[in-house]
């Protein structure tokens, strides 16, 4: 359906092509969120979502919020346009979900840790946010694509709530979402999941028992940044040490050329941090007088909103020389 009137300009605030350009930008935002590349947005996800929501508000204002439950269709033509927009939006959403499936499959095969934490996460936070953004904005985007600004109204103005008030209300609602994200980031309990495998099937050295210790500390139920610890610890009742620790006994050390490298467990977090970022990551390993090893890892999690919201994440592993796990959380 083409609802352009002869006097409609192509560009500028009143231009139909401007609307279409904004829709293309919104599609790009969705593409960035849904795409498996890059593996992690390194905290830029919050900014990308903010851009997407801003585009949605601009498009909503331009279409007089016709494709929302609050917009009023002035005449039969705009009612038809709204119906057509929802019909197209429904099919496009199905198409989007179908496209998300291969993207999730590709994304699952790229980077990231494959450890089963006991915390199931078949969907990443990015995929969920992409689906929600698509669901919320699609009808409005279709109206903006099909009709010139004003939702194709040619006669009487919209009845009901004024467009400006609706734009303000939506802006406040979306700001409230940002506040809710911050509140959740600051106040929700940190979720820690861990997995211990003894003996570690990766290490088959004689004379010692080794264990694989994996833990993840998640903010905002895994939507926020995650601190990941992957440590391999061995013991033989006389001593306890970390595999790949330069101070540990051979053959548990790094090769000579790698002796100055950070222990493997202290590498940059392998989990995705799309919304929020980890900074100032610190790792420490020491053995006390009783021969017990202490492994700590901590980092500052930032919300991704500039200057707002940060929390300290910490993971600790304590193992005695006879293999008893004293602390792991």
């Amino acid at each position: 359906m083409r609802a352009e009137s002869p006097g409609t300009p192509a560009w500028g605030w009143e231009g139909h092509l401007t609307s279409r350009l904004l829709v293309v930008l919104l599609a790009l935002v969705w593409g960035v969120l849904a795409s498996p590349v890059p593996v992690s947005l390194d905290g830029w996800g919050t900014a990308v979502v903010a851009v997407g929501l801003f585009l949605f508000i601009v498009l909503g204002h331009r279409t007089m919020w016709l494709a929302t439950p609050f917009g009023r269709a002035g005449d039969q033509r705009t009612m038809d346009l709204r119906g057509l927009a929802y019909r197209r939006a429904f099919r496009l959403f199905s198409l989007g979900v179908l496209l998300l499936i291969p993207m999730l499959v590709v994304g699952a095969g790229q980077g990231g840790t494959t450890i089963d934490w006991g915390v199931p996460s078949p969907l990443g936070a990015r995929a969920i946010v992409a689906a929600i953004l698509m669901l919320v904005a699609l009808p409005t985007a279709v109206v903006a694509w099909l009709a010139p600004p004003g939702g194709g109204r040619t006669g009487s103005p919209a009845t009901g709530v004024p467009v400006g008030a609706l734009t303000g209300a939506f802006s406040i609602l979306l700001s409230a979402c940002a506040v809710a994200w911050l509140v959740g980031f600051q106040s929700l309990p940190v979720a820690v999941a861990s997995k211990v495998t003894i003996p570690d099937p990766q290490d088959d050295f004689s004379g010692a028992t080794c264990g694989a210790f994996a833990a993840v500390s998640q903010l905002d139920q895994g939507v926020g940044p995650s601190l990941v610890m992957l440590a391999q610890v061995c013991w033989d009742t006389k001593a306890v040490w970390m595999v790949n620790d330069p101070g540990g006994p051979s053959p548990f050390r790094y090769a000579a050329g790698l002796s100055n490298a950070l222990p493997q467990f202290c590498q940059r977090s392998t989990d995705r941090s799309d919304f929020g970022v980890l900074a100032d990551q610190q790792c420490r390993v020491w053995v006390d007088r009783a021969g017990t090893i202490h492994v700590t890892m901590q980092a500052e999690a930032e919300s991704g909103l500039p200057g707002l919201g940060s929390r300290r994440l910490r993971l600790e592993l304590v193992v005695t020389k006879d293999g008893r796990v004293v602390t792991f959380d």
Partner: protein, 354 residues
């Protein structure tokens, strides 16, 4: 009024969704064929897909019964019930998924007849009133879908328990797919009023083509049931290989066997092992462990290992036996156990195989 297909038709979301589905299914079948696993089961799937496309192509009329609003609403409520059942079914009952899925397929066929597939029909095939009705249905369906998706996303983020349930449940995703493809038609069927004029009853025997397609679909729906029953009566096909193995210091035999079970829906149960003997006892060289007690391949049947054990008898005979339970997902209350046995005496004589 009819006209030919234009480029505009090919750019519609409906066409793109259909094209994506065809591409995914073709890639899947190509992969299966490339792996050399194109069995009767996959041919069955292919023929079923073709029948469904032909069924979709047939013109539909609701008939006297399905044109009644009360019947249509009862159909939608039934579909909602089946969807609820699917979503609630735990993964431990995975073999039972087929029953609600088959019920849902039948309901979808009836739904298509009840709504004359107006919700997904090309613009040129609907009149003004139908266009208005389906637009209204899509508005309502979109809002319902938004409630479901937002609710699921919220629950997914909020609770690890729900996350675990969604990660393990096939049913939730099947219900979501049902909603994505059929919710507008369901809303349309719910909303449409009773017809002013009672439609004339029409027999399925109206055309030969219609009769053939409906027979094919009925046969395809029945085939998994027949195949499940065939498990009870059709004898397995067995092929064996026995050849000397080992070196000068050891006397050994390689024992290989495959037992192919079932019709169309099939399973292959293998044994591949090497047994040696010393004169005082026989012993396993390889291939008689817990990891060897698995079905090699199943096409549409569910295989469960119910027992697996290896034993050295007092007379030095090595005895290995594993039993696989096979069942058709279409009738999960009927199954049959298939044992495979190897018994080799201390002198290397095959006492039992397989």
């Amino acid at each position: 009024m009819t006209r030919g297909i234009s480029w505009r038709d090919l750019r519609t979301p409906e066409f793109l969704v259909g094209a994506l589905l065809v591409i995914f299914i073709s890639l899947g079948l190509a992969l299966v064929a490339a792996l050399g696993q194109l069995t009767g089961f996959f041919l069955y799937l292919l023929v079923s897909a073709v029948s469904l496309v032909l069924l979709r192509w047939l013109p539909v009329e609701p008939g006297r019964l399905l044109s009644r609003r009360s019947i249509r609403r009862a159909l939608i409520l039934s579909m909602a019930g089946v969807c609820g059942l699917l979503a609630a079914m735990p993964n431990q009952l995975a073999t039972w998924y087929v029953l609600p899925l088959l019920a849902l397929i039948c309901c979808n066929i009836l739904l298509g007849r009840a709504t004359q597939r107006v919700s997904a029909a090309p613009d040129r095939e609907v009149d003004e009133w139908q266009e208005k009705m389906r637009n209204r249905a899509h508005v309502v369906a979109y809002r319902l879908l938004a409630i479901v998706v937002l609710g699921l996303a919220g629950a997914y983020v909020a609770s690890y328990t729900i996350r675990e349930w969604m990660a393990q449940s096939f049913g939730v995703w099947a219900v979501l797919a049902e909603l994505l493809f059929f919710l507008p038609a369901m809303v349309l069927a719910w909303m449409q009023p009773d017809p002013v004029v009672e439609p004339a009853p029409r027999s399925l025997r109206a055309t030969w083509l219609r009769r053939i397609i409906f027979t094919a679909v009925a046969a395809e729906l029945l085939l998994p049931v027949i195949s499940g029953l065939a498990l009870l009566v059709v004898p397995p096909q067995i092929s064996t290989t026995v050849r000397p193995a080992g070196n000068q210091s050891q006397r050994c035999s390689y024992l290989g066997a495959t037992e192919t079970v079932g019709l169309v829906l099939q399973a292959t149960l293998p044994i591949s092992a090497q047994v040696c003997w010393t004169g005082s006892r026989a012993f396993e060289d390889w291939g008689m462990n817990q990891s060897d007690c698995e079905a090699a391949m199943t096409s549409g049947l569910v295989a469960t290992t119910v027992s697996c054990h290896r034993q050295l008898l007092t007379d030095g005979t090595l005895y290995f036996r594993y039993t696989t339970r096979l069942e058709s997902p279409a009738i999960p209350f009927i199954w049959r156990d298939f044992p495979l046995t190897v018994a080799v005496s201390r002198t290397g004589r095959l006492v039992q195989f397989p």
